[in-house]
Amino acid sequence: MSRLQVVSGKGGTGKTTVAAALALALATEGKRTLLVEVEGRQGIAQLFETEALPYEERKIAVAPGGGEVYALAIDAERALLDYLQMFYKLGGAGRALKKLGAIDFATTIAPGVRDVLLTGKACEAVRRREKDGRPVYDHVVMDAPPTGRITRFLNVNDEVAGLARIGPIHNQAQAVMRVLKSPETAVHLVTLLEEMPVQETADGIAELRAAELPVGRVVVNMVRPHVLDEAAVRAASGDHRDAIARTLASVGVTGGTRLVEPLLDQAAEHARRVELERAQRAVLDGVGVPSYELPFLGDGADIAGLYRLAKELRKQGVGA
């Protein structure tokens, strides 16, 4: 598995949940993963039901088997100040720059600087080593910006290296790009089996490929069990309401056809959804990217659900 796992996806597809589950799944026995967040939303803290994460790597979960998951919410402003400090010993000057609005300028307005810092910090974590030469983190999982922006986000360093043609930012941008375009990195796209997310995923993959960024997997999330298919539902409709009502009554569920009617409506809806999912799966198959599939969590993505998804990912080969 690649060292840097970037997880993107259309809004609402569960990208943060999948990233967290992936970090857990990769933290097999004795391994350590770092889960990083770049959009300042504190989604990881909310998912793990802890207080807001500071700009600091801290242990957030222990995986079954003893692996550890650390988390970091990257803050572009702090990353820039760190960076200035690291390269220029600019403690006080950094503060002065901040007062002048230069840091604001650099992290919010200046094209790309923010994204350079965010990707740069993640790549630094990938490259960081212990004194004995072992990597500090076996894997770094990034909860990245959504599909519509992911290529631009990852590719920003190319653009910045073009704008800032010399100097440390230029060098840093190029170093980051080397990691991002190598097999060390895999970019996964989370989708649902619905038309819009699938379309966006197909477009996203095309964009990533055009930019020569390494596409990892499609993660099909919230897959519902197919309890009844269309044929079964057809068989159930028609004039069999009374028979169904009697069968229900035989196990103590009374209510007659008044109850059967809405149950059949739900089944018809379900069957339609199964049909749509089948069509969307065919579209995804056409994209030619291997996939992971994760089940729908009826109770929502809480911590228990997260561990369940991690287990599911391991079953499908993550961390093996």
Binding site: K10, G11, G12, T13, T16, E39, G40, Q42, Q46, A52, D75, A76, Y88, L97, L100, G101, A102, D104, T108, I109, A110, R114, R152, E159, L163, A164, R165, G167, I169, H170, M196, H226, V227, L228, D229, A231, R234, A235, A236, D239, H240, R241, D242, A243, I244, R246, T247, A249, S250, V251, G252, V253, V260, L263, D265, Q266, A267, R272, R273, D299
Partner: protein
């Protein structure tokens, strides 16, 4: 960059379980009809889940007021509707559906969308949307309503501002500047500024009496509101003055001190960014100098416009934790900014016409069917042959069950002679019950998340939009969403 702390704090607030909600249960106990379960049928799966009483009537929290959207659309005083919320909650579709409905009720509407989804353009009968409003054909209604739609093109909008506010030579210098080209092509933030700019432009043209806009898929909901201020503070800031200083203060004796500080700083920046880049930035800033003022004035004006009585914000969400957390945060932010909130549109809400049958009972009954247990007093075999049925003839079902199953229907076993209908009906009924149990689980989870929001913001009016099984492809689909938007409640709830 202070938004983070705020967002975190809100998140914590929203997380504090606002319960006491689902526990106090009125429950359907009065109803002996659908709930008359025998003890045997309750079965082993029935761990008393306090939330299992279904989505309705079980809540100890007062219902939120219902958001009435037709009066809002019909009110000629409503000039701008802003749809905001987390990504993937259906903002754009909501905006388009409102546009269609308002137009068909006689308004002259323009929908400004930020979402580049082709599907949406196509659903309005336009192959692709661009930076110019296009008329949408097929709008019904006799009151002379019209619908136009456009999609924000950031770069085009930015270029137009430059062209409109600078003389040709200076405009060319700006447009060719590498820093400008990157900035305008859509780095973080640009989209928000340009959305505000476009909104201001559309309003100023006064060709439409209603503008419906969806907000950019931002990092966070804040960016849209913060854009004008951030731009303003940047433009007012010392930093930009310093950047421009070489051109302005050079030579003036009194400014020597500033110059020293300045060159120290540009020296640092130069080291960091590379000299050429800094020079590009300086050239760009100098060239933009004249139009920056106008830019800020307009951004301020648009901001004020958003606070004006003719504007209505709709916060869009789905009954999911993250989406509603973002919604709660937005509600608080709008209040703090004194921006007029009309209410919450809750998309993709699930309902059930059989909500009186709880998940636990449905699951237990399904298990009983699987295991062939009979619990009614009839003593007969479930299904057709043993029952004293009059209307549905056994044969009918046998045929129906056997024939319309084309192939490989995993749940419908191949019909076998006389026993088959029995097995099939049992199997189907068990499937229906399982589906229902799953649906009820989703319902109660959605109810819990909604209750949490309502507890925090009981004053916010809500309209619920029932989940659609598929996607929207045409005006008829948008119309159907519009109908659902107006219904206010899911059919069953």
């Amino acid at each position: 960059m202070t938004e983070k702390a705020g967002a975190g704090a809100t998140g914590a607030g929203a997380d504090t379980d606002a319960t006491g909600v689902a526990a106090a249960s009125a429950g359907p106990a009065d109803d002996t009809d659908a709930t008359g379960m025998t003890a045997a049928a309750v079965g082993p799966a029935d761990d008393a889940d306090p939330t299992a009483d279904g989505p309705d009537g079980a809540s100890g929290i007062d219902r939120a007021p219902v958001l009435e959207l037709d009066p809002l659309l019909d009110d000629r005083g409503t000039r701008i509707i802003v749809c905001c919320g987390a990504g993937g909650v259906g903002k754009t579709t909501t905006a388009a559906a409102l546009g269609v409905r308002a137009a068909e009720r006689g308004r002259r509407v323009v929908v400004l969308t930020i979402d580049p989804a082709r599907r949406l353009a196509q659903s309005m009968g336009i192959d692709s949307l661009d930076n110019t409003p296009r008329k949408v054909d097929g709008i019904k209604g006799s009151d002379g309503g019209e619908l136009h739609a456009m999609m924000l093109d950031m770069k085009r909008t930015f270029d137009e501002i430059v062209e409109a506010h600078a003389d040709p030579e200076r405009a060319r210098a700006i447009l060719e500047n590498p820093f400008y080209q990157s900035l305008s092509a859509g780095f973080a933030g640009t989209q928000e500024y340009m959305a505000m700019e476009k909104l201001g432009q559309l309003r100023a043209r006064d060709e439409w009496d209603l503008i419906v806009v969806d907000t950019p898929p931002s990092r966070s909901a804040l960016d849209f509101l913060d854009a004008p201020k951030r731009l303003g503070s940047f433009l007012d800031g010392k930093f930009i003055k310093l950047l421009m200083a070489p051109a302005k203060v050079g030579g003036r004796a009194g400014m020597k001190f500033l110059n020293v500080g300045m060159s120290m700083m540009t020296g640092t920046l130069g080291k960091l960014l590379g000299g050429q880049f800094l020079k590009d930035v300086q050239t760009f800033v100098a060239a933009m100098d004249t139009m920056f003022g106008g830019f800020r004035t307009r951004a301020d004006a648009t901001y004020k416009l958003l606070q004006a009585p003719g504007t209505a914000f709709l916060v869009v969400a789905t009954p999911e934790r993250d989406a509603l957390r973002e919604a709660a945060y937005f509600v608080e932010r709008l209040a703090a900014e004194e921006m007029p909130l009309a209410g919450l549109v809750l998309n993709r809400v699930h309902g059930s016409g059989a909500a009186r049958l709880s998940a636990e009972r449905a699951r237990a009954a399904a298990e009983n069917l699987d295991e062939g247990r009979i619990v009614d007093q009839g003593g007969g075999k479930a299904g057709l042959r043993g029952s004293p049925a009059t209307e549905p003839e056994p044969n009918e079902l046998a045929t129906a069950a056997a024939h319309p199953v084309p192939e490989a229907a995993p749940t419908a076993e191949p019909a076998q002679e006389t026993d088959a209908p029995d097995v099939d009906v049992r199997h189907l009924t068990a499937g229906l019950l399982r589906l229902h149990a799953e649906r009820m689980r989703v319902l109660s989870r959605e109810q819990r998340t909604r209750d949490r929001f309502t507890a925090l913001h009981p004053e916010v009016a809500v309209t619920e939009v029932a989940a659609l099984p598929g996607d929207v492809h045409d005006l008829a689909g948008l119309r159907a969403i519009g109908d659902r938007l107006m219904a206010g409640r899911t059919p069953s709830a």
